[in-house]
Structure formats: C-alpha cells, structure tokens
Amino acid sequence: MTFRIRKFAGLTVSHLVLAALSLACIIPFLWMISTSLKTKAAMWEFPPKWIPKNPLWHNYHDAFTLAPFGTYITNTLTLEILTIAGQVISCTLIAYGFSRFRFRGRDTLFFLMLATMLIPEQVTMIPTFLFYSKLEWIDTYLPLVVPAFFGNAFYVFLMRQFLLTIPKDLDEAAKIDGANEFQILWKVLVPILRPSLTIIVVYTFTGVYNDFLSPLIYLNSPEKFTLAIGLANFVSSRSTEWNLLMAASTVILLPLLVIYYMAQKNLIGGIASLGIKG
C-alpha cells in the first residue's frame, strides 16, 4: 500500500516536473503565434494579452507578400535535398571504411578527421571563402552543397560507432552468400543503420534550414536566397516588423515540426533492434 502511494506520489511529481518543463518550452512558441496576430502597437502592451482581441490574420498574408518566400522555399528545399543526399552517401561510405576495413594509418586518419571538429567555423570562414572564390563558385550553391559530399566528422563518428556495434557475423554470412562489399553495405548494413541515418537526415535538415551565415556569405543574387536570409531581412535596427516576422516564423517552423514528428520513432527508439538472434 505504502509502496503504491509512494509510487503514485513519485509519478505525480515527475509528471508535474515534466509538465512544467514542457510549458517552459512551449511558451515562446505560443508567444510567437500570439504576436503574429497583433498590431505593432498591441505587441508592447503590458501586462501582455495572450489572445489578441482582433486577431490580424492578414499579418500572414502581408508577411508572405512582402518578400518572395515561394522562391526562398524552393531554394531551401533544393539545398536540403542535395545536402542530405551528400551527407548520407559520403558519411555512410566513410564510416563503413573506418569500421570494416583494416589498413595502415586507419586510426590516425580517423582521429585526424575527428580533430577537424575542434576548429571553429569562424576560423575557416575567410580562407574557405577565398578558396571557393578562386574556383569561381561565389553566388552558386556549390560551396553549400559540395562539402556535404565529402563527409562530416561528427556524422562519420556517429555512424562508425554504430557500425561497430553490428556484429561482423552478418557481413560474413552475406559474404558466404556471394555478396561483395557494396552489396553487404547496401543490402545488409544500411537497413540496420536506418536509425542513425535518420539522425543524419534530421540534423542535416535542421542544420541547412537554420544556416544563415554560409548562404548569406556565398550567395549574392536575391533569387538564390534561402528562407533563413529572407526571415532575417525582417529585422533591421531602423525598423523591425516584429508581428510579420513572427507570422513568417510560425509558418516556416512547420516543416521542422513535421520532420521531427515523422522521424520521432527512429530518433527515440531505433537502436534497440539489431537484427540478430540470440
């Protein structure tokens, strides 16, 4: 009895804590939606009103007609598809190599690759810019997409660690059946790797979606701009249309929510099943 009460109390407390935490997470979202429906003057009311008296739905219309968001969306999606393809292909291949093949200097190479994570982006920004500008790649998507086809230290690390947990017996079984290295990777390992591939897809998606500085620096033509740049243009020290900014942000957030929702199962569960019988 006491045990049950204690258990019940424990559950209640943990639920209360979780509820408080989720409330803290969701308040900025609600605030954003609320502001997106207000006039510029009503935004500053104190104490703030959560539900505006006359919600201004046309803020949404205004925000999306003020700037060519259709173009921005197309551009961002193009970048997304190319970058995700690049990361998934390159990171899988590289991680496969690091985890399944033995060759001289493999581990040195691996740690060298990991060491690149220590260099902050700001340090390499100008040199890489100069490099791409020598290639005449400025104002193209190439500097944003091509690096994705050459791996990413963190994702390679993630995939390698995951691959190391998959027993080699699977590879050997496939080899006996006559599979070559690519067939082993593609037919046997990739299906098991789905959870970590999902992680790469989701992280890359949000990374590209939120990336502001790289597209800003490499792209000059407005017709090539991405959503992040379009959104930032609402903010200016001379005049900021907060309500329109919030309306645009609300809509632009939706794809991220959808992606997370769809990937949720793989992101949380994933690693449990490893396709081998005890």
């Binding site: 510029k40 500053w44 060759f103 810019f129 502001f212 900021t240």
Partner: protein
C-alpha cells in the same frame, strides 16, 4: 573485386578526412575570367554597352519595393547601366561585406553605416575626383553633419548621404494631459525631464515616465546629452577615452540615469525588449522616449497624439549640439565600374529621390534642407523639430570615429548595465568607482589595437 572496393573506400576516406579540400575537378566550366583583384585603374572603365553594377543594401523588407521602383527609374534614364541589387540582412551584412572584400569580390556600391572598419582597410573609394569632375555641390546636404559623417581623417569625401536623422525626445501628449503635466519646452533641463518622468510614472497602469535609460546607446551614445554637458565619450579622433569615459560630466550623467532607474520612473527591462520609438512607446505606455526620424512612421500611426522636443540640457549649459546620423552610400575602391556606380550613387542621393521618399510613405528623411523646405515639412509638428536640430552643430557618433570603438563599446555597455540597470538582482554600482576602471581598460585595449596597425 574486394581489393578494388577497398581502394575506392580508402580513397573516399582520405578525401573525406580532408573534408573537401581538394576538389578542383568541377571547375570545367570556362574559368577564364581572370578578374582578380589587380585592377587599380580608377577611371579607365568606359561602358562598352551595358554596365551592370552590384548594389547591396541592408534595409528591412518594407523598403524593398521602393528600391525596386527607384532602380527601374534609374535604368530607364540610363540605358547603359543595369543595377543588380541584393537586400542583405543587417545581421551578418558586415561579415559578408568583409569576406567579399577579402576575396576581392565586393559589391560596386553598398549602403549602410558604421563604416570605420571598411574605411580603415581601404575598401571605400574616395569620391573627390568625381566631385571635382562633376562640380558636384556637397553643400546642398545638411552641413556640417555630412562632412563630419562622410569625410575621412584625410579630409576626403568617402560617401554620399541617403538620408538624415537626428535624435529628439518623442513624448506622448495624451499621457501628459492625463496626468496634468505641462508639455516640455525646447529649453528644458535634465531636472525638468526628471520631474516630468516622475509625474508620468504609474506602474499600476503599466505607464512609465521614460525608457531613455534602457541602454547606453539610448541614454548616451545615441543622443547629444553628454555633449551638451561639455563632455564626450571619446576624443574627436576616437583614440582617447581616458578622461572622457571617466570625466566628471560622465559620472554625473551616470548618477542621473541611476537615480531615475532606482526611482522606477525608467521602465524596467521586463517591460522592454526594444526601447525608443520602436518599442512600448508606440503602444502608449511610455511618456518620453528617444526618437529618430526612422521611427516617424510608427509614431504617426500610434493611437495617441505625439510631440517632439529637443533633448533636455544640464542646467546652466550654453552648449547646443544635436545628434545627427546619416545612412550613406559607399563605393568599392576596387570597383572596375566606378563611373556607373557614381551615377547611381548621385541618383540615390538626389533631391528627386529625396522627394519621392517623402511621397512614398515617408521612407526616409532627405539629406538636403532644400527638399525639406520645398515639401513644407516644417509644417509638421514633429518634423519641424528634426529640421531645427539638423541645422545645429554636431559631432560624429562615437562608434564612427575610429574602428576601435567596435572593440571597446561592449565594455562601456557592460559598465552602463552594472551601474544603471543591474540584472539578476545585483546591486547598483557606483559610477565614480566603476567608470575610472572601465576607462583604463578601454584605453588599454584601444592602445593595443592602435599599436597593431
């Protein structure tokens, strides 16, 4: 087969480990354009047919349609010039600008402010030869503001002004009426300001006397109060802050700001994400606020009657400075299309465009007094005050005197926060103690930066 696959993967690995540092296979597209940064010939470029100039600006989304119209008009009048405009977000504009300049690929022309970095790196073209060639009259702009703002330390002009804005006090007439406070007069003092702020403050109604002391920019570097006290934030060349940041006038101003903050007549930071005409003032909750011409449209749209008045002065002061800022156009020193760029610059800074800006929802306040008079702007109760201010003496804003301010401005802001708006329940610090220390630290940093040059 296995060997082959292994070699391929090893190759992929090597390249992957170098994270994309050696991929020149893709440059098969006619890479013959050797337009590297060598071109030093200033005026030799004659447009064969059509010259396309790159133009970057950092204005908000609301201004873009106006720019598109202006460019269309310009291209119709100049069939040999095409303008390729990019609207770059302000947040990140200067990173982009400097990265492009470092690669020798900057735009031919850009608009903006805080140009000291670009100036000292030699990215901005002097305009004297164009001004002399065209007999271009610089006295048509507000002076001495334009000269102070756009002449380099060498006396050459480095830009043309797009607009002009002063700093004034906007006040909410409805609140003054409601609480029976007399409207401020142009010759009011800091004590009058304090008095009015106290009478206007009613926290139970969410109303505060002012939000002027929200930040060091609103309170000190973005207005003329300290100048009219006989003090300054830095020397005229921006190289000395010791003796300025810790001057008796500065300490007095900090004490004044601290008093208003302690008394609660300055709106607490919980009320403000933004202060000035962009913030809660426009919602009618603040009695008196920092006002720029850029916020004029918001104030006009507000649901209350607004007034404008010059900044209050320290009792007994006979100084009469105004704070003036101009958004400006700059030309790339390495541009190979300087003639076309100059044409476009002149056009954007012309009286015609100035008039059009007024007619187009008052996009900006033109930088030439003639347009203000021709358009009868002094009839407007608010604009009248700006025009009066524009004719006064002024100084260059502190951030515009020397690029070192970008590096030390943060220390000044931190000191301001510690003294006037302490956060997280910290206690108010004494300006007489803090400012001399901060002045030393700022000066040391400035000296270090200047020595590196």
């Amino acid at each position: 087969m296995k060997k082959w696959a292994g070699i391929t993967l090893a190759a992929a690995l090597t390249v992957g480990a170098l994270s994309g540092c050696g991929s020149d296979n893709n440059s098969g597209n006619t890479a013959s354009g050797n337009n590297a940064s060598g071109g030093n010939n200033a005026t030799s470029s004659k447009p064969d047919k059509v010259t396309t100039i790159d133009f970057w600006q950092l204005d908000g989304t609301g201004t873009q349609d106006f720019y598109v119209t202006l460019i269309k008009q310009f291209e119709e009048a100049h069939p040999d010039i095409k303008v390729k405009m990019a609207n770059i977000p302000e947040d990140g504009f200067f990173e982009k600008l400097n990265a492009s300049f470092a690669a020798g690929k900057g735009p031919d022309m850009w608009g903006g402010w805080y140009s000291t970095d670009e100036f000292e790196r030699g990215y901005i073209a002097p305009l004297d030869e164009f001004i002399a060639r065209d007999n271009y009259d610089m006295s048509k702009y507000f002076q001495p503001a334009t000269a102070l703002r756009l002449q380099g330390a060498d006396g050459h002009y480095y830009g043309l002004p797009r607009d002009m804005s002063n700093a004034v006090i906007y006040y909410n007439k409805d609140l003054f009426d409601k609480y029976g406070v007399p409207y401020p007069s142009p010759d009011w003092t800091l004590d009058d300001f304090h008095d009015a702020a106290k009478k206007l403050t009613h926290p139970d109604e969410g109303v505060y006397g002012t939000d002027l002391f929200a930040s060091d920019f609103n309170a000190i570097t973005g207005n003329p109060i300290i100048w009219n006290m006989g003090g300054d934030v830095a020397s005229d060349d921006g190289k000395k802050v010791k003796g300025f940041v810790d001057s008796p006038q500065m300490i007095k101003l900090f004490q004044y700001a601290q008093t208003l903050s302690k008394e609660g007549v300055n709106a607490p930071s919980s009320v403000m994400q933004t202060a000035g005409d962009q913030g809660p003032f426009s919602a009618g909750k603040i009695g008196m606020s920092l006002g720029f011409l850029w916020g004029y449209n918001d104030v006009k749209k507000a649901t209350f009657k607004a007034g404008a008045v010059a900044f209050p002065k320290d009792a007994g002061s006979d100084l009469n400075f105004a704070w003036t800022e101009e958004v400006s156009w700059y030309m790339n020193n390495k541009s190979e299309k300087k003639d076309a760029t100059w044409e476009f610059m002149k056009y954007l800074s012309s009286p015609e465009v100035g008039k059009q800006a007024i007619d187009t929802k008052f996009m900006w306040g033109p930088p030439m007094p003639s347009v203000w008079e021709e358009k009868g702007l002094e009839q407007d109760e608010l604009l009248k005050v700006f025009l009066e201010q524009a004719k006064l003496k002024t100084k260059a804003p502190s951030y515009d005197r020397n690029r070192t301010w970008n590096e030390v401005g943060g220390m000044f802001s931190q000191a301001y926060t510690d003294i006037v708006n302490p956060v997280d329940g910290k206690s108010y610090k004494d300006p007489a103690e803090v400012l001399p220390k901060v002045a030393d630290e700022m000066q040391a940093k400035i000296d270090e930066l200047l020595a590196q040059q």
